[in-house]
């Protein structure tokens, strides 16, 4: 069974890049353009792993993680995709329930291997 990824990012460019990398690597790719849509898509798609941006309109990444962890009570890995890698951000993301983080610009191979590792699926 293919691994389903839900990517939440308000940048179309980033969504496109993720789609390209992940579909090439054999993941089933779904995306949402802001936090609110992301949370909604989560219940529809029921992904195996979530990638979320932090700075987004309507609901930011922390909000997404919190909602997914507390309301949806999900234990799927949630990866933060962010341009800054400050300790503060990591601490906040982790407090909200993030599984890990990837710093933009991301590298396809590392991203794919991180996702495989966290989901335990080959793809």
């Amino acid at each position: 069974m293919t691994t389903k990824v839900l990517a939440i990012d308000d940048s179309r460019t980033i969504r496109n890049l993720l789609r390209l990398s992940l579909e090439t690597a054999g993941f089933e790719f779904h995306s949402a353009c802001d936090g609110v849509e992301g949370v909604a898509r989560f219940s529809e798609v029921n992904p195996d792993v979530v990638i979320t941006d932090i700075n987004m309109p309507n609901m930011d990444g922390y909000g997404v993680i919190e909602t997914l962890r507390t309301k949806d009570k999900t234990s799927v890995p949630i990866i933060v995709l962010t341009t800054e890698s400050s300790d503060d951000l990591k601490a906040r993301a982790r407090a909200a329930g993030a599984t890990g983080w990837i710093v933009k610009p991301f590298d396809d191979t590392s991203l794919v291997s991180v996702l495989r590792r966290l989901t335990g699926h080959a793809a």
């Binding site: 460019t13 329930g97 991301f106 335990g120």
Partner: protein, 724 residues
């Protein structure tokens, strides 16, 4: 990666949208009561540009965006107040960001002169600590902030030989809450070498006290690997504070030696098999974290999440990106359809069916549908003028900076849609006009105050659709045109005769004469050798017209009137020397069927028409196209009064006007070549090709024969000429 270029294109497309949002947001921030979300949106726009730029290795852009974003972030977090000066810096930063994006898109070097200045100004708002926090450009952030016990790290790169690493791994409850799964972690470690895992379940409580959210197992791992220890840290990167890890490296002298015994913890349970990935079930019943039931209290981060109830949820309008070529092909096909329809209509008319016949009714419906399709297709090429206007606000800013004037820009109707090509080709003329408006139109702040006006001048740009045309106005609230000086300049340059008695409108229109420039000392801003004549030519090339109105002390307004589309136009079907031709209606002011007494000969070939007391040169279309004028035709034919770019009135003589209809413009230049006096061709209902005339050029052709006789010339002279 084959998809890369198109993703890059999307990035730049997105950048344009983001820059637009940025400009809009910054404009909204001028309102002192702007909302927090406005600031957030501006921040996000810059942030997203940075994020995308990073993916394409556009370091210069990333650097600028990062600095911009960092200052913006201070505003966002209320550690920096927005004052007009800062807002201005933001606007200038936005301009620079736009430049950088454009430079990156076109793969050229950006203009760094201003960029450096703006960057330095931005950095002034940043303390030292901000500057240090420069972002990393490596593909993955690999830092291990956690309290890892790193032993022997100094020489782990010196020898790639096999080593034994023992790991004590004690997960915390938060490990499961954050979506981690120890077994998957072990899988990842197992990929590095040979892994032995044993579980210490001594801490697992009795069933009654069992809390499924609490981790109770302590894991002992032994890894024999050729990989450096760093790789291991990568695996633990995400869990560093979610567990206690102790890593101990035992260097092997010989890889073949048996590994030191796994620490025997005296467990009743047998150790998990060396290949846990192949048999994870061994530990599954106990190790499977049941993190689902973890109603952990929401942390403070929850408050940071913008409430979903925010009514500002305007999702982007769904759009479809289509190759422009396809649209143009479609427009072309629709053009054929219109022509074909005209032919069918003609054939049916030739059948002379009784009125009210079904076919005639159906035909009417078909005509309407074809018209709908045509309008719909044209609308695809239409774009709002907003981005164009936004670019102009930048011009206003730069022009006022350069001239020491203060100006604000007001836009009206920026959602008005205009053909894409028109928008593109209007950019330069508008830039010039806006510069002029600030440079020549507006007074200095001192003069404005003295005149009892607001110190800050206003440049007003508006766009609207009126009766099938697009009206674009550029107005200023400056001093108005200095007519005496314009006249004086024109006389000095020999553009008008000193005795000429000109109306105000005629004086204003002198600005459009080639080689006219009012600035007594050429300012470094608008005096770039480009005159209003260039503006006029550009507008006319688009089939439009430009005019001026000005009130002393109140300001000047330029009005550009353009056709809605470039592919279809309304024309008169006329005949010239028995040939059917089309002339654009937009260029015709009036049609006259002359009386013989209004026609006067001058010189050998010259002829003028007297219309309401004025003498207007007659241009014989047939003659100028090198055609034989039909001598049988009814005497004087029909005269079409047209106005040229020199504001001269001319009368074009044709044989007859047959019809008024919409025609599809077909370029001749690509298939045939350029014919003086002809702008294009079209196909009529009977399948015949008809040339579309260019009145402007016909008049120019004619002026080779007849001395130019501007209507502003002395009336007495004309009378004299007419009677000799």
């Amino acid at each position: 990666m084959s998809g890369q270029p198109s993703i890059r294109d999307t990035f730049f497309e997105e950048c344009e949208e983001l820059l637009e949002a940025l400009v809009e947001g910054l404009a909204d921030m001028e309102d002192p009561d702007h909302s927090k979300e406005t600031v957030n949106a501006v921040f996000r726009a810059v942030h997203s540009i940075k994020g995308g730029a990073g993916a394409f290795g556009l370091d210069e852009l990333v650097h600028f965006a990062h600095t911009f974003e960092t200052v913006m972030d201070k505003v966002r977090s209320d550690t920096l107040d927005v004052d007009p000066e800062l807002l201005r810096l933001f606007q200038r930063s936005g301009d620079q960001l736009a430049d950088l994006v454009e430079a990156a898109r076109d793969d050229r070097d950006p203009n760094r002169d201003i960029q450096v200045v703006v960057l330095a100004e931005l950095q002034k708002y940043l303390g030292d600590e901000d500057e240090e926090e420069e972002i990393e450009f490596d593909a993955m952030g690999l830092d291990f902030g956690g309290p890892l016990d790193l032993t022997d790290i100094s020489d782990d790169s010196s020898e790639p030989s096999s080593q034994m690493i023992s790991i004590r791994f004690v997960p915390k409850r938060s490990l499961f809450e954050n979506g981690h799964e120890p077994l998957l972690l072990f899988d990842a470690i197992a990929e590095l070498g040979t892994l032995t895992v044993s579980a210490d379940i001594s801490a697992v409580p009795d069933f009654d006290e069992f809390d499924s959210d609490e981790p109770h197992i302590v894991w002992e791992l032994t890894l024999e690997t050729d990989e450096s220890e760093t790789v291991l840290h990568e695996v633990f990167e995400f869990v560093d504070s979610l567990c206690d890890i102790t890593i101990t490296v035992h260097r092997n002298e010989s890889a073949s030696e048996p590994p030191p015994a796994v620490v025997d913890l005296g467990l009743p349970e047998e150790p998990v098999a060396p290949e846990p990935s192949s048999d994870p079930t061994a530990a599954e019943p106990l190790a499977k974290p049941v993190a689902v039931a973890s109603p952990s209290s929401p942390s403070s981060a929850a408050s940071a999440a913008a409430p979903a109830a925010d009514r500002d949820h305007r999702g982007p309008k769904p759009t479809l990106r289509v190759d422009l070529d396809r649209v143009d092909r479609l427009i072309n096909t629709v053009g054929e359809l219109i022509i074909n329809q005209a032919m069918i209509v003609q054939r049916i008319e030739e059948l002379d069916l009784p009125s009210g016949a079904n076919l005639t009714n159906e035909l009417e419906a078909y005509k309407l549908l074809a018209r709908d399709i045509q309008e719909g297709v044209m609308a695809i090429r239409a774009q709002p003028v907003k981005p164009l206007f936004q670019r102009m606000s930048r011009i206003v800013r730069e022009a006022s900076d350069a001239t020491g004037k203060s100006a604000r820009m007001v836009t009206v109707g920026d959602s008005t849609e205009v053909d894409k090509t028109v928008i593109e080709r209007l950019a330069d003329p508008l830039t010039h006009m806006v510069r002029n408006a600030v440079d020549h139109g507006l007074e200095t702040p001192e003069k404005r105050i003295a005149a009892g006006k607001d110190e800050v001048g206003t440049i007003r740009m508006s766009a609207a659709h009126r009766s099938g045309s697009v009206f674009i106005e550029i107005g200023d609230d400056g001093a108005g045109l200095n007519r005496p000086r314009i006249l004086e300049t024109a006389i000095n340059k020999g553009l008008v005769s000193p005795e000429a008695d000109l109306t105000e409108t005629e004086i204003d229109n002198l600005l459009f004469l080639p080689g006219f420039s009012t600035a007594s000392e050429v300012s470094n801003l608008s005096g770039r050798g480009v005159g209003m004549d260039v503006v006029k030519n550009a507008v006319q090339a688009l089939g439009g017209r430009v005019s001026i109105t000005s009130t002393p002390g109140k300001g000047t307004t330029f009005t550009i009137v353009l056709p809605l589309t470039l592919a279809v136009m309304d024309g008169f079907v006329i005949s010239v020397a028995q040939e059917t031709m089309v002339i654009p209606i937009a260029s015709i002011l009036e049609t006259v069927t002359p009386n013989a007494r209004d026609l006067h000969r001058i010189g050998l070939n010259g002829e003028v028409l007297r219309v309401r007391g004025r003498y207007v040169p007659i241009v014989d279309v047939a003659h100028n196209l090198g055609l034989e004028r039909n001598s049988d035709s009814n005497g004087n034919g029909v005269l079409l009064l047209v106005e040229t770019e020199m504001q001269e009135l001319n009368a074009l003589r044709v044989e007859a006007i047959h019809d008024q209809r919409q025609v599809v413009i077909k370029s001749l230049e690509s298939n045939y070549g350029r014919i003086p006096g002809v702008s294009a061709a079209t196909i009529l209902g009977d399948g015949k090709i008809a040339l579309i005339l260019d009145p402007e050029e016909l008049v120019k052709l004619n002026s080779g024969d007849v001395a130019p006789m501007p209507i502003i010339a002395n009336q007495e002279e004309l009378h004299h000429a007419a009677h000799t």
